[in-house]
Structure formats: structure tokens, C-alpha cells
Point group: C2
Chain length 460, copies 2
């Protein structure tokens, strides 16, 4: 136990980063086909660290490592692997090894593994499970994908609401099949509907004759089994829940979700938002080259179309540009400033929608505020660009055109930066996914049109 | 208790979003100066929902509400408020009200409140605390900002490693000052160094004569008090910890961090990343107009400088553009595609650095991979743009220039998209903060230079 202090697998300067000398030693024993040495190195590691190690070594070393160590492969390692790599690893394992590895997993972890697999692999794993586990897993898979029903564990510790502390403790003592982790005892009415819960700390700290009802937590909330997992994560984060009972349509207890699962979902939701805002798909650095190129292609293709659209605006002003070529050098400045300001508003808005801070109620106030922020910064940069035009190019008229164009574009950027994600959200489209393109297209087109249009009126 | 089922404050269609009819009712009683009615509406709400309500109503309604309800203000509501608004609310409260509100808070929540306040407000709150609490809070404030020492609660449940289940339960029963929430009993050696911990579930489910050591969790890890809170959140997420003992330099137990606090930090770290990637500061929609404009100004100013830099590249090719004005319309396409591809690589890289999946070990492999992804997509779009140039403008030479320029720019975008954040990270700068500008500047300049340079060689 005290060995844990030394944490040999951790490097000193960068906490929790896998020690690269450990990785070197693993690669060395793999090269020597030394199964025993490999097991000695991997066994002390947490499953999450083994998964990270598999993600960090090259594909050919990984294949060799799996061939050597496959039989020692733990189901937990599979659970921790990046989805892209997980399929590769599952393919690389013998069916018997795979069946052995997953037999130790809790049913909710098996569900999580199965969700992302193709049908043949899925069936192979289901066949490997015992009858009881298979039924439990299949039952969970009946709930909608990414719902509370898939996230929950089916093992619960519950008792009638009229019990005392002593009755509860005796019950827990006698239960031979307690879940691996539990933090509350759930109180249910005679219809099996949860009515509150008591922390184990309170159970342990109270006298045997105290009624459980008197110890109930204030922050109790039930989660419908069909609730999207993103909302589950939100509820845990908003109300500081540690675990929450899951109920079916009639309010009956069907399972429990614990905060560690909610934390994983919160992390995944964030990853999805940040990747979608950048148009980077579900990408991770362990995906294969072609997979990554394919994921990013669609957003680039959309961007090509909108960039061509914006270039059509410029084409309308070709004669202006041919008379004053410097306009061609200056117009990207106006467009780029608009794109940046739009991205700022957009990101704040996408985040506020995710945290439910932006609602129909305060929508107009927020839109007005963002447009005004754009206007304020527009006026500040108008002064800067006006001066730039005057002193660098010696033309007050050019300075004025730059100044007015930047005010218009930053104002529009603020307006569409918040408006586009709000409208997409109302339409049921993920605002992180599609707003970016729209905002950039608008700020490019408005930027080019305002600047070249004003220049045509004033300068030529 | 069963009232919780109805959850009157929740709207049906959008889970956990504040019901707007509730907000209307609150505003109505505020208009009527009806303190009793206001208290009746606010009292059943969770502190986090009251905070959301304060964030969603206008500034003048908020001032009126606080004047009416101030005395009922709960310290938990202050903890839940957005930082920007928190200062406003604290200013609006009478010193006596404020002192009363925070008296109920746990010491780690007081520390969290104090961290972001100016010195005079900070001292006012410290004075309001009892002697014991003030010493505890001041002790925590001695740890570095955003460290484990600030995050931990000082109340721990610990016992000697040689204890049995029975001894542990008797000890917990007799302790009059148990923490509000605890999930483990920490085992310590005679020097007060943690050597393992036992879940309360195992304590409850085991016979009295079982040794605690036999029930220890495998996933046990200690956290140094000076560890940055971002690393703490990472450890909880990576190793699925529920609570973790915090130790000082000599390995002695000084406090404990629970997963709910780690989840809040994880959420904040994500928010910081996504906002910094967009150059939106620490922005939230409840910040004031001027505050927001000021937060976004620096990034826009940097962007203005780099945009002017990129425009200087274009100026070098003025004579080429004046001979073939269509180049002015096409050059933003190349720059924009590069900017997008660079942002994709950059975002995946920033995320991989945050999750410690990208290390010195696999750095070169990842850089090569991203550059190759850029190359692959570059070749695909080269075909598209080549065709566009040929069929739309009837010029094979123009198509070829577009094609070669896009290959060069997407290759460079992949390379700097991963290279820039990696280098910044090595230099100790947050890669989310500064990489975006750098990548966009490089892809703009390379895009303009490659396209206009090739055009100068081939077309004019």
C-alpha cells in the first residue's frame, strides 16, 4: 500500500503524465518478446494509465504488445481506451481473450463498450457474458443512446422510508451483493418510488433508533431514465449531487447514477463542444491518419463553399480594386477583425446555452448587449484604423472608409455571433456545430461589402 | 420530501432550465415590494437556481430584489454566483447581512468567495468570521492560488491503519463534528501519513472484526497540497477518484478533496480553454457591457496587428494584382482554408495537451501526422480548386496556382497547428491562450504569399 507513495510511474515535473522511461522499458521488453517482464511492468499501473500507454506508442509496437500481453488484458483498460483505438484493440484480441477480459466489468461499463461497436463484435461480446449479465446489458441497451438509462448502474441500495438507522445498517450488513461503490441509501415508498436518500456518513454517525427520514439530504433529485446524459451531467454539476436515483415513466426506481460517471459525461460534452466549434469532428490524436482527414474534410468543404461565396462579393468590386489596388491589401483586415469578434460572441453564447444561463427570457437582452459590445470595440478600432489609413497611406478618406467599415462589421459580428447559435438551438441543431461557418461567412461578406462598397462611393 | 417530485421550478420541455413563469412571479412580487411573497418563492429553490435567477433578471430588478430579500440571502447563493455578478451582489449587501450570510458556509467555500474579492471586501468578510473559522480560512489562503490546498476541506475522517471495522464505526459514532459530506475513512500511519482508505460502503457491509487494511481501495492516491487544481481535477477524472487525501511536503494528512469540488474545477478549466481559444477572456453573459468590451479588446488588438502584417504580404504583390484583379477575389479563399485547417489541428492539440495524451514522447509522431492530414486534405481540395479555376475562370494555369497554393497552405496549417501549442506549452505559456493568433497569422501570410507568389511566376 505504501508503495503508492512513490508512484514510480509518475514523472516529477509533469504530474500524472506517463513517465517516458517507463514507456521505454515497456517497448524494450516488447522487443524482447518478454511476456513476464511486460506483465511485471503493466500490472502495477492503473487501467487508465495502461490505456494512455497504448495510445502513446506506435501502431506496430501496439500490435506486438497486444499479441504478447493479450491474455492479461483487463476489461477496465478497454473501457479507458479512446474510442478510435478501442475498436482496433478489440479486433486485435482473440475472441476468447476478449470474453475473459470483459467478464470482470460492471454491466454499465459493458454497455458503454458495446455502444460504439459494430453489430458482429457486439454480438460476440454479448455471447461471452453470463445469462444474467446479458439480460441486464440488453435491458440497458433498450434505453435511448446517451440517456440516463444507459449511464446508470442497475445495482442499488434502497430501503423503505419508515426504516431506522439500525434496520438500514443490518440490511446492508446482510446483503451479499452490494455494489462496488455506493454513497447513499435510497428511501422508497411502497410503490418503489424514491422519496429521499441518506448519506452513508449520516448512517454511520447516527444512533440506531434514529428514523432515516430525519437524516434525508436536502439536495435529493431523481433522474428520468430517458433524460439525455448531457442533462444528467448538468444536474450533477448544478446541484452538487454525488449520486442520484434513476426512475422510469411511473416514477419507480430502476437504477442509480454516481458522480464519477456524470463527470466523465461532462468531460465528453466539453470535448464535443470544443471540437465542434473548431470543426474538428470527434477527432483525437490517436485516430488514424485517414480517419482524421475524413472527419475534418466536411467542415473544410463547407468553408470552401462559403469562402467562394465571399469571394463573389469581392468580384463585384473588381473595377474599384483595379483603380486602387491597396484596397485588396486592406480588405482582409476588416474581414478578419469581424471574424474574430464574431467568434468571441459565438463562443460565449454556445457556452451560455450549454450552462442554461441563456434562455428565451434574457435572449434579447444578451443579443443587444453583444451587438453593443461589438459597437464599442468597433468605435475603438475605428479610431485606430482611421489613424492608420491617414498616417500610413496619407489619405483621410481611406482612413474614414476603414473606420466606418470596421464599426459596421464588428456590430454585425456581435449580432450574428449571438443570434446564429440561439436560432440553431431553437431549431434543435447543436449550436456548436454549425454556427462558426455561418458567423465567419456573414462577417467576411459584410466586411468585404462594407469596405469595398464605401471605397467605391468615396474613393474612386 | 415528496414535493421534490413535482419540482415546480422546472419547465417541462427544457430540463433544469429555470421556469420563466417563476421568474415572472418573482419580478411581480419585487415590483409590489412584497418581501414575504418573495421569500415564499425563493426559499424552496436550490441556491444554484437562485443564483441563476439573479443572473437572468435585469440589473435594476436585481438591485430591488436584493434590497427586499438581502436579509434572507444565503452564503451558498453567493458561492454559486458568476464571479462578475458576485462582486456586484456583495457590494449591494449591508455588511451585517453579508456577515450573517457567510456564517453558515464551510471554510473551503469561504476561501473560494474570498479569492476573487478586493482587499477591503476580503477583510470585511474575514472580520465577520469567528476566530476559529478565520484562522482556518487564513491558513488555506496561505497555499498558492488555484492549488489543492485552497480546494481541500480541512475536516477529515481518519484513523490508524491497524484499526478494525468495529473500532472505526465506534469512532465515527462518537465524533460530534463529522464533515457535512464524507465518503471514505482515511487510514494513516503513526506519522499521520495516509496509507490507504476504505469506502463507507465497505465499512457498513463488513463484519466488526475485519481489519480495515483488508478493505482498502486499489485506486488510492494522495494529492500534494501545492498541486495545481487543474492537475487535481485531471487525477479525479483519470483515476475515477471520489475523494482523495491532501498531504503537506512531509506527506502528512492536511485535508481532503471530494469529487464534487474536482468536477467544478474540471468545468472551469474547460470554460477557460474554450474562452481562451476564442480570445473571449473570462467572459460570461452576465458581465457588464464595458467589462466585456475591455476583456475582448486585447485579442482584437493583437489580431489587428497580425492582420496588418498579413496585409503587408499582399502589398508586395500589388503590381501582380493590378494586372489580374481576380487574384484579389481568390486569395482570401486560400487564406481562409488554411485558417480553418490550422484551427482544427490547434484545437485537437490543445485538448490532447490538457488530457496529457500528447507528451514529448509522441510529439513528433503527432506533428508528422497533423502535417500529413493537412497534406491529404490539401490534395483533395487542390483537385476541387483546380477544377474551379479551370471551369469558372477558364484558365488551367489559374487552377494550377490555386491547387498548389492550397496544398502548401494546408500542409503548413497542420504543421503550425500542432507545433505552435506544443512549443508554447514547453515554454510554460497556456497553449489555448496564444496559439490561435499565431496559427492564423502564419496561415494568412503563407496563404497570400504562396498564392500571389505563384501567380506572379506563372500568370503575369
Amino acid at each position: 500500500m505504501s508503495d503508492d507513495f512513490i508512484r514510480p510511474e509518475m514523472s516529477d515535473d509533469d504530474s500524472y503524465e506517463l513517465d517516458s522511461s517507463l514507456i521505454e522499458r515497456v517497448l524494450a521488453v516488447v522487443r524482447l518478446d518478454d511476456t513476464l517482464g511486460l506483465t511485471a511492468l503493466l500490472k502495477p499501473l492503473h487501467a487508465a494509465d495502461v490505456a494512455d500507454l497504448l495510445e502513446q506508442i506506435g501502431a506496430s509496437s501496439r500490435r506486438k504488445l497486444l499479441a504478447l500481453w493479450g491474455a492479461g488484458m483487463d476489461g477496465d483498460v478497454l473501457s479507458e481506451l479512446d474510442e478510435g483505438l478501442r475498436e482496433e484493440v478489440i479486433h486485435a484480441l482473440e475472441p476468447a481473450t476478449l470474453a475473459y477480459a470483459i467478464r470482470d466489468l460492471e454491466s454499465d461499463d459493458v454497455v458503454d463498450l458495446l455502444e460504439d461497436l459494430e453489430a458482429p463484435q457486439r454480438d460476440a461480446i454479448l455471447q461471452a457474458l453470463g445469462d444474467r449479465d446479458r439480460v441486464a446489458v440488453e435491458h440497458s441497451l433498450n434505453y435511448p443512446s446517451e440517456s440516463a438509462g444507459r449511464l446508470m448502474q442497475r445495482e442499488v441500495v434502497a430501503g423503505p422510508e419508515h426504516w431506522t438507522v439500525g434496520e438500514a445498517i443490518d440490511y446492508i450488513r446482510q446483503d451479499p451483493e452490494l455494489p462496488e461503490q455506493f454513497y447513499h441509501m435510497i428511501l422508497v415508498d411502497p410503490m418503489m418510488r424514491p422519496v429521499g436518500y441518506v448519506t452513508l456518513g449520516k448512517l454511520l454517525g447516527s444512533a440506531r433508533n434514529v428514523k432515516l427520514k430525519a437524516l434525508c439530504e436536502e439536495s435529493f433529485r431523481t433522474i428520468p431514465a430517458t433524460q439525455p446524459e448531457a442533462d444528467v451531467a448538468y444536474a450533477f454539476n448544478q446541484y452538487h449531487l454525488i449520486s442520484a436515483p434513476v426512475v422510469d415513466d411511473s416514477g419507480r426506481l430502476v437504477g442509480v447514477i454516481t458522480i464519477d460517471d456524470a463527470m466523465i459525461v461532462l468531460d465528453e460534452e466539453h470535448e464535443e463542444d470544443i471540437m465542434r466549434l473548431a470543426g474538428a469532428g470527434d477527432g483525437s490524436i490517436s485516430d488514424r491518419l485517414w480517419e482524421t482527414a475524413k472527419q475534418r474534410f466536411p467542415w473544410l468543404a463547407v468553408n470552401l463553399c462559403t469562402a467562394i461565396l465571399a469571394s463573389r462579393v469581392i468580384v463585384q468590386f473588381e473595377s474599384t480594386i483595379s483603380q486602387l489596388v491597396v484596397l485588396a491589401a486592406l480588405m482582409p483586415i476588416i474581414a478578419s477583425m469581424g471574424g474574430n469578434a464574431g467568434t468571441q460572441s459565438l463562443t460565449v453564447t454556445v457556452r451560455a446555452l450549454a450552462t442554461k444561463d441563456l434562455t428565451s427570457r434574457n435572449m434579447w437582452r444578451v443579443i443587444r448587449r453583444e451587438a453593443l459590445v461589438g459597437l464599442v470595440n468597433g468605435l475603438l478600432f475605428a479610431a485606430a484604423l482611421g489613424a492608420f489609413g491617414f498616417f500610413w497611406y496619407g489619405s483621410a478618406a481611406l482612413g474614414a472608409v476603414l473606420a466606418v467599415a470596421i464599426v459596421i462589421n464588428l456590430f454585425v459580428a456581435g449580432f450574428v455571433g449571438v443570434g446564429a447559435p440561439v436560432i440553431l438551438d431553437k431549431m434543435g441543431v447543436d449550436p456548436a456545430l454549425a454556427s462558426g461557418t455561418f458567423v465567419m461567412t456573414v462577417t467576411d461578406m459584410v466586411g468585404f461589402f462594407a469596405f469595398l462598397g464605401l471605397a467605391t462611393l468615396v474613393l474612386v
